[in-house]
């Protein structure tokens, strides 16, 4: 028996906030343009270097450095669409990026899982991706799905197995963060084509997109860039994320970190527009701050909150949607820290008009899956979603007649207006939950129960049988060509 997937509940802010002043935005983007023009970006791919050279960039083929004059950056990037649709297996769950709503995804790509049954920490598997795709399919907070952990039981073709597990277990849009290399990318596109049904649908409502990471400072990854070109050629959205780290792979100042990361992302976006003008692209800036004693990347330092909102505003300056870095706590288990880390950045980013954001559900800086974390993070998501909705002040809501009837020292409990409206108030289903013994349940335990309930009871509509067979056939061919489990 299959279950219906609930409608998405994106965050639709009634308000907008500008974090950067116009002058600051100019200072930052001028910094980015100067870096691209005067310093350049390292790119170890002959194919990519040729594309840059053919479109007017200065390319040092020997050192694999590309410098791009500001005029070319501005002209080329102007071809990118500001808004587009990220399709889903079910049209009702298509994500229309139009500047009015923020859609969030799960986090990715973790490498360890707290086992669903034994609660023992172990390496992640394809089955984890399948199970979490089903959980995500049920949650209205999750607009699209990043395969949340790595399918490490399929070492060479893990990214493709993650996509298969995702397509088979959720009707929502899938965004891969692990497909790298031209060959793997071609298999991924073939899988997307099977889900889309035909070429027109694939381009109009692409069910799959790709996020490629840059290498800080100021470098591109050969495999990532070549896979991005394959996706772009097929009309699938591609985004680029910089994870510059203040003090180690970026200057130890916030502004310096921002421009270094922005230059990496813009250089990649420029490449895609040079190769395939008009392709859907997105910008993602996710810097960390280096821990001075350990060198670790800290995504949630006190000052870090500002980075993600600024990333959103920079994306909009360049005329493309953003993927904002959200959640991804440094905490080692669900608790005070995992709640305190993400809350303010989500609110701030939502107010800047971000279109998409990652990533609910992982701990230990995006590495460790606790199955219940996505439920806990969803609670935070909904708090922010409702908070930015604004207040309704119509006569029914103002209820002056009711106040008059009740009067000073009266009571509203028995009034019909109360009975009608108290049901419309939204309470958390994790906090303030009475237990049979008269106490209050622990939100984390309740989240565990909820995730178990979803896994037992929610069975999304699968792809059609022929599509499943086709996906399996593609995987088999990929396993044979690339390696992995036969």
């Amino acid at each position: 028996m299959t279950s219906e997937t609930p409608p998405l509940q994106p965050i639709k802010p009634a308000y907008h906030l500008n974090i950067l002043g116009d002058e600051q935005l100019t200072q930052l983007t001028t910094g980015t343009l100067r870096i691209l023009d005067e310093i350049g970006v390292h790119c170890p791919s002959e194919k990519v270097l040729r594309i840059y050279a053919e479109h007017g960039a200065r390319v040092d083929f020997e050192n694999q450095i590309v410098q791009i004059p500001p005029d070319i950056v501005k002209e080329v990037i102007s071809h990118a669409p500001r808004f587009y649709t990220m399709g889903a297996r079910s049209p009702a769950h298509d994500i229309v990026l139009d500047g009015t709503a923020l859609y969030c995804t799960t986090d990715g790509c973790g490498i360890e899982t707290i086992d669903f049954t034994t609660r023992v920490r172990r390496a992640s598997t394809k089955d984890d991706v399948s199970r979490m795709a089903r959980v995500v399919d049920y949650l209205p907070s999750i607009g699209f799905f990043w395969p949340i952990v790595s399918a490490q039981d399929f070492p060479e073709t893990a990214p493709l197995h993650e996509i298969e597990a995702a397509f088979n277990n959720t009707v929502k849009h899938i965004q891969s963060e692990t497909v790298t290399g031209e060959i793997t990318a071609r298999y991924a596109v073939e899988m997307a084509r099977v889900i889309a049904g035909d070429e027109i649908n694939l381009r109009a409502r692409p069910p799959l997109s790709l996020l490629a990471c840059c290498i800080a400072p100021l470098a591109q990854d050969k495999e990532s860039m070549e896979s991005a070109l394959v996706f772009a050629e097929a009309g699938l959205p591609v985004g680029f994320m910089s994870m510059v780290n203040t003090g180690s792979t970026a200057p130890a100042t916030l502004a310096g970190t921002v421009v270094t990361g922005d230059a990496e992302v813009v250089s990649a976006m420029v490449l895609i527009q040079m190769a395939f003008p008009g392709t859907a692209i997105f910008h993602s800036l996710m810097p960390g701050i280096m821990h001075p004693r350990t060198g670790a990347y800290l995504g949630t330092a006190w000052e870090g909150t500002l980075f993600y909102a600024i990333g959103s505003e920079l994306a909009h300056f360049w005329g493309v949607p953003t993927l904002a870095g959200l959640f991804g706590t440094d905490a080692q288990a669900p608790g005070w820290q995992s709640a305190g880390d993400p809350a303010s950045s989500l609110l701030l980013v939502a107010l800047t008009g971000a279109e998409t954001g990652s990533g609910l559900g992982l701990l230990e800086s995006c590495m460790l899956l606790y199955p219940e974390a996505v439920i806990l993070d969803s609670d935070i998501y909904h708090r922010v979603r409702i908070e930015v909705n604004g207040l309704d002040t119509n006569p029914e809501e103002l209820a002056l007649d009711v106040i008059k009837e009740v009067g000073p020292r009266g009571h509203f409990l028995k009034h019909r207006h109360t009975r009608d409206n108290i049901r419309r108030r939204v309470f958390s289903d994790l906090t303030a939950q009475p237990t049979p013994s008269g106490g209050i349940g622990d939100p984390i335990e309740i989240a565990q129960e909820k995730v178990n309930w979803i896994m037992e009871n929610h069975w999304p509509h699968p792809p059609e049988a022929e599509q499943q067979v086709e996906l399996a056939r593609i995987l088999k061919a990929a396993d044979k060509e690339i390696g992995g489990r036969q």
Binding site: Y15, A255, P292, L348, I380, L398, H415, R425, A432
Partner: protein, 483 residues
Amino acid sequence: MVIQQPVLEPIHSPYRFRYLSDEQLTQLQEATLEILETVGVRFPSEKALAILSGHGANVDKEKQIVKFPRDLVQKSLKTMPRYFTMGAREITFDLHLKDGVTYFTTDGCGVETVDLETGNRRPSCKADVAMMAHVADYLSSMAFYWPMVSAQDYGRTAPLHEMDASWNNTIKHIQSETIMGEIPARYAVEMGTVIAGSREELRRRPNFSLVVCTIAPLSQDKDGIEGGLVMAEAGIPVGFLAMPTLGTTAPATLAGALAMGDAEVISAAVLFQLAYPGCPIFHSMMHAWADPRTGAYISYPLDGRARHTLIETAHHWGMPALGGCFGTDSRNVGTWQSAVEAATDLLIAVLVRPEIVTGIGLSETYTLLYPEQIILDNDIYHRVRHALMQLDINEETLALDTIRAVGPGGQFLSQKHTRQHMPTSLVRAITHELDENNKYRDPLEVARLRLRWILENYHPEPLEQAKQQELNRILAAADKELS
């Protein structure tokens, strides 16, 4: 080694977030005026009724209900000061309320404490108030101090003993939420005069203030109002806090609850301006929700919208606002719930730019003190403070020369620029403290260690001995008269 007291670090918001549109502000204000004019508010105080009646309000003495013609409301509120000073024992810690700066205080007034030494839960006492004043004196996030728990070992004079414990342990401004009735209020003013040195100085730089709770729906508390009038006469700032609960003591719709709570606050504001024109007053509202299943009081549902709407309403009336943050419904310290409830709430509150905000450090909906919670809440406070700091963009911070020197694929660790800026680049949260194995420590454990460190190593500037003796004398007289 003498540990210096850190300077205050209030939250400066460079952004102005408008939660309500102009039209909605007008709608809410009109609703308040209509409630005041047609429904009225109960004032069970002969003194208050006489003042209101003498200034043209429609008073039903039998029912003690006062209806306010809108002209009277609008005219009387014209004398309210938009900003004022909340003085401190030390002038450098005076708080000059102004636009764009938000000062925070602790929560109050809890009734139980989880003992720091034994871990046992017990009724709160004066020593707890003193201990937490000591901690608040050290924390840069704490601009003023609400006695956090009740000095229950002193029965009816507990509120005065809370003031004594506070003044003896912090040089910051004190705001009482428990002084009720004319007689305790007169003793409190006397104590404040001792600290200030004179009545004139007390009026110029009032070293304490008072929050008076209204009673929902649409009623005032006799002792609260009469205590407040004594304070106002002496120039002590007085605020009015409405706490309507949606579904029981307020309509089950947000706008209705807001309008009703606002009417309670404004009715008190009118009384005070009629009695003492120009006296410093402030506005506050912390609405809650009734759990439809249990009737329990919930301050943080999933839909916590409009918790800070009344800050804008207060400003629209022309008065400062006391916002309410923290005060989690969580029963334990350091839980997921205690962080999730505070974190988003705080950011949205300060974006609306209240002048003052309570209340860091209590659990179980403002009733239970875990001493270490103030350190955890302090961390959330500083996260938000930093989130609202504007990015510093200049030649030095853009670091293009350093980026050029490092180039693609290099590393910044060995750069002079990195060495210069790294010490200030990572502002370490409580979550990024390392243990001896370079593993992150449990934030709750770090909070407990920091709390103990403050208590053992930091010594607040003691109150002059003569003033201590004077306070003791006043307390002895109050104990004799009231107990």
